[in-house]
């Protein structure tokens, strides 16, 4: 037996067993070997026990989406099998400790516990497992050793034990491959070794830094915390104010205070936290403050499935906040887009004096893969603040709806902002005419947002399509791969990271579809509703999934084949 030009590896174990470490070690080593690598994890909301898994795809050509099929499955504890059973096929190689899984006929035995104990404690089982996989694939042990040195180099004793454990595993892997006559002919490309490897949280964080983010106040909530932690790590290096607020209400108000004083602030939160920010969002609308909101979706309602994924908060982002005011929603689908959307969000918020959302989800944030580069700009974005004159009026009525935005301490004028309806100078008014003029002015700003195509949309597949698939956010890559697998000449896939407002170009594509199919990870088709509201075009079908898991390439492929042949 031989592996094709791709292999899918899944490692399952309890929380606390170091699945994250295994993922890091294996992805780094596989990439160093010159393979394209994708990894995504799936975990339970608990610190110990339960079941966590990581799915790693390594291939000769780029892989970037979650696939269910497993070529190689490593079971790290007694419960693992039942969690992964559905994804195991007759072709899957199942590796586990014979002492635990004596009843599994197809088991390829790897005495994890014994080998780990030879080295020291049972936590070294994960190094044994990593060694086994690398040995089985016939990859060089030096690559694995180098990765371990990079990760554990700070502690010689721990490093030595990891090295010994991995060597024991590697020998077993090599022996098994030889005995069963497996070999692996994955084509490698040395250039990949030097590529970037990052996850969604890191991509959002790097984008925010590049966009000039210098202030973040937030309250921890999965899955948004990764971005907050990323920025906290680099606070000193990049001169970034980071504060863990007492709650989300405080966080967004601190952020608005920062923008008022000339900072470029963002908040990172999840649905439940953002629910608390509703009044702050409305305040941003009323005082015409820029604001960047990273809203990382997870299944609701209430606290829902804390560690799993969903696209259930589009409506929340769209309708949160009382009163009428413009906003923009960007929903990246790739890591490059996550970087770009996060970067652009600051400039867009600053230029439009309106809130801008970066709408992500657990799946996107916790997935990682190699990318050749991130689109760094040549120059930093310009700030849109002005030096004020003595007669400065914060809410001067203008044709574009945008009043030049001053900040205190820069110029001769006074910067007066008020959450009550206000006149041009920022003073409270109940004058009916001024009220109407101010509402009109705020809504006029929206025109600029609407016509602009800020982050490019994509049309995959034929341009003379009859059937159009539409997805948004993190479903992009799985739909792309499924479409490529099916390769139907009449089916295309339309995708735009700017989900609101929908640009005119996207609207044209939608109108041209004979059959429109919207694919989303929620139960009611929120994006389909948005499309109908904005364009009048009703979706002919919605493919929805809301079980807390990401769409797999296979599930979409299957659905599309049925669709095409029906």
């Amino acid at each position: 037996m031989r592996f094709k030009n791709e292999i899918s590896i899944v490692l399952v174990g309890e929380a606390g067993q170091g699945i994250q470490t295994i993922e890091t070690v294996l992805t780094r080593t596989l990439k160093a070997a010159g393979l394209h690598v994708f990894a995504t994890k799936e975990f339970m909301s608990r610190i110990r026990g339960g079941s966590n898994s990581t799915t790693i795809r390594a291939a000769s050509s780029p892989v970037r989406a979650y696939a269910e099929e497993i070529d190689l499955c490593v079971l790290l504890d007694g419960d693992a099998y039942s969690w992964i059973q559905e994804r195991i096929t007759p072709d899957t190689l199942v590796i586990g400790d014979p002492a635990v899984y004596d009843h599994l006929d197809e088991l390829i035995p790897l005495p994890l516990a014994d080998l780990a104990k030879q080295v020291g404690e049972k936590i070294y089982a994960n190094a044994v497992a990593c060694g086994f996989v690398i040995g089985l694939l016939g990859l060089k042990s030096a690559l694995l050793e180098k990765t371990l040195e990079e990760l554990f180099g700070g502690n010689q004793e721990v490093l030595d034990k990891n090295l010994r454990a991995s060597r024991l595993g590697l020998e077993q892997g090599e022996a098994t491959a030889k005995e069963k006559e497996w070999f692996c002919d994955l084509q490698t490309n040395p250039q990949i070794a030097g590529q970037l490897f990052l996850n969604g949280s890191e991509a959002v964080g790097l984008g925010a830094l590049t966009g000039g983010c210098n202030f973040i106040a937030s309250y921890p909530m999965s899955p948004s915390t990764g971005v907050l932690q990323f920025l906290a790590k680099y606070a000193e290096r990049f001169g970034l104010v980071v504060e863990q607020a007492e709650d989300e209400i405080s966080a967004i108000n601190m952020g608005l205070g920062s923008w008022y004083a000339g900072g470029r602030a963002m908040v990172s939160t999840s649905g439940g936290g953002f629910a608390l920010m509703g009044e702050g969002l409305s305040l941003a609308g009323g005082i015409e403050s820029p604001m960047v909101i990273h809203l990382a979706q997870r299944p609701g309602p209430a606290t829902g499935l804390p560690t799993r994924t969903e696209q259930g908060d589009l409506d929340l982002a769209l309708y949160a906040g009382h009163g009428e005011f413009p906003r923009m929603i960007l929903a990246p689908g790739t890591l490059e887009e996550a970087f770009e959307c996060a970067r652009l969000a600051f400039d867009l918020a600053d230029a439009s004096q309106s809130p801008v959302f970066i709408l992500t989800d657990q799946y996107l944030l916790d997935s990682s893969y190699n990318v050749p580069e991130l689109p760094l700009p040549a120059e930093p974005d310009e700030h849109h603040i002005v030096e004020t004159s003595a007669d400065y009026r914060r809410y001067a009525l203008t044709e574009s709806g945008l009043s030049p935005r001053g900040i205190p301490g820069y110029g001769q004028g006074l910067v007066c902002v008020d959450s009550d309806e206000h006149d041009e100078a920022g003073f409270i008014t109940e004058d009916a005419e001024v009220r109407t003029a101010m509402v009109d002015k705020r809504l006029r700003k929206f025109k600029g947002l609407r016509s602009e195509q800020t982050v490019k949309h994509h049309l995959f597949g034929p341009t003379d399509y009859r059937r159009l698939l539409v997805g948004w956010g993190s479903t992009r890559l799985a739909i792309e791969e499924a479409l490529a697998r099916v390769g139907d000449p009449e089916t295309a896939f339309l995708y735009s990271p700017q989900v609101y407002p929908l640009s005119e170009q996207v609207q044209e594509h939608l109108q041209g579809a004979q059959r429109l199919i919207v694919i989303e990870s929620n139960a009611t088709g929120q994006f389909a509703r948005l499309i109908q509201r904005e364009t009048g075009r009703q979706a002919d079908a919605c493919w929805l999934q809301y079980n807390g898991r990401p769409f797999s390439v296979e599930a979409l492929e299957h659905r599309l084949r049925q669709e095409v042949t029906s």
Binding site: R28, E150, G194, Q195, L196, F197, L198, L206, L209, T210, G211, G212, N214, F215, A217, Y234, A235, E236, R237, F238, G239, L240, V241, V242, E243, A245, E246, D247, I249, S250, N253, M254, L256, G257, S258, Y260, A261, G262, G263, R264, E279, L283, I287, E373, L376, P377, E379, P380, D381, I407, P408, G409, G411, Q412, L414, C416, V417, S419, F427, I428
Partner: protein, 286 residues
Amino acid sequence: MTTNMFVREGCDIAWCPGCGNFGILKLLTAAMAALELDQQQTVLVSGIGQAAKIPQYMQVHFFNGLHGRALPVATGIKASNPNLTVIAESGDGDMYGEGGNHFIHCIRRNPDLTNIVHNNMVYGLTKGQASPTSQRGFETPLQPAGVILEPFNPLAVAIALEASFVARAFVGHKEQTLDILQQAIRHRGYALVDLLQPCVSFNKLNTYQWFDENTAYLDENHDPHDRIQAFASALEEDPLRLGVFYRKEKPLFEDQLLGHKKEKKPLFQRQVNLEEIRRLVQEFNG
């Protein structure tokens, strides 16, 4: 003390005739003028309520935000531009009720800002409901049988949290209040001034006369560095003590932020360091 640059002449003031807020407006602008604050570097932040309207009647930068949220906004401003003098001002309902959580945590952070609370022991703008500082038995349309809750003691809470400056004043005593306000604004760190102020429309219990009769200054030998003594004085109810209860030098929030370690400039003067970001991106090639 009649005209100064912080006074906005000729504006239509929405307070009831006789309201204690007028006195606070006068004293605050006088204190700011006496301290020669730089008008371009001074920001007033307020929430919602009658008290919170105060910046509308002044010549100053202001951020009049949402009910209860003045302190987070003020903290965000101060952390983004530490050169600004920031004063957060609002009513007792705003700061201690809706904003209670922020009050606690703002004290813990200790940004260099002055927090003036117009304490009239009632909700003015919404027409006379109980506030967190209303006394037991105080009858309102919403509490027809009288307030049954224990009144919130802002000074005791602030001292318990080791706020860096804690004072109580009464608007009827001009000289002393002016002095306390100046001390509070000059103080480096979070400074609370609980400022007693009659609401002539909705609080018929705590009137000018009532405050006059039920307050007394701290003893001359009160040591504001003695926390236990300060706490004991804060617990006194009959009479309510006035003066500076407690003060302590503490590290400032903004001074300790990692983001201000290498660079001291306000955020709006900072440049994105693309070169350094490029280097960071390259660190992800492992």
